[in-house]
Symmetry: C2
Subunit: 199 residues, 2 copies
Amino acid sequence: MSYNIAALSKLIEQFERMPSIGRKSAQRMAFYVLNMSKDEAKVFANAIIDAHEKIHQCKICCNLTQDDVCTICQNKARDSSVICVVEDPRDVMAIERTHEFDGTYHVLHGVISPLNGVGPDKIAIKQLLARINTDEVKEVIMATNPTVEGEATAMYISKLLKPMGIVTTRLAYGVPVGADLEYADEVTLSRAMEGRRVI
Amino acid sequence: MSYNIAALSKLIEQFERMPSIGRKSAQRMAFYVLNMSKDEAKVFANAIIDAHEKIHQCKICCNLTQDDVCTICQNKARDSSVICVVEDPRDVMAIERTHEFDGTYHVLHGVISPLNGVGPDKIAIKQLLARINTDEVKEVIMATNPTVEGEATAMYISKLLKPMGIVTTRLAYGVPVGADLEYADEVTLSRAMEGRRVI
């Protein structure tokens, strides 16, 4: 389906490349942009350029930041001897929302995935090891996703850390709070049984 | 949920304003933009500005175009004595896809909707009447959506056109091809019965 309008087709294409955006959504979004005022369109375009220019990785934890060092690493109230290793900057925010963790983070920006050509050198493992060598780190919490790749990455990193005498822990598996046991898959349920605790 | 990164929050906000995009999708899209190369981000930002600067309404039919007059109005092979009135530029493309219509279009850019404060003067009815006065128009096909507002707009325009001696027609109602009668709503089904034809 072509609109015979080059500028519109180009804009639709741009939106269509985004994750989970299909042709119809891309069209709707492009028409939304057309209906913006000129100033709004400029603000939108600038937001894209700005985000690109201003945001980079924190020197310490590789999380996204506009400064050299992110606000969490800058915060002296946080316990830098505990590092929570996550795959993605969004995972940092998910854990921050719990308001339960006062350590620091390390963002890998991916997981080891040989099938997709991602080896250990392609994610921020080197930076994590460098950090552990210089800082006094007591515990590393592996909070990668409970997927095959996330699991493998957690195992890989914990094997590297073991000889360094650092405690490596993994997030607990179990049934999600508020969920229905009936709908829990077998693996989750058997892990929940394994990890049962005295009440 | 805040990322503590102004440039990122701004970008997420921009995406969140789009139709049918929620918080999570907006975040995914913003992160997608961050992972673009610098050049790709520039292309994206330019596509927004470009679409805004280059695209405007056709002088004749109010459809979107990069030229003064859109390709359909420019095309001499098309029958300018038949005008198909639609709500939106996307409707033009939907009808064009049928390859059955060789007349011209008129895009209203909305429907009369008193509840939303849209009166007849806020949509391109004036331009339609001006066109009918100057061109030799034989038939106006009302192809607004079969909604309450679309219906009312079609009735309103046809009443304006009647004294001018122009045939106004409306798209046929009926069951959609390939659909299951069982799932057709009563109104559609009774309209389909009303409009039945000898085979």
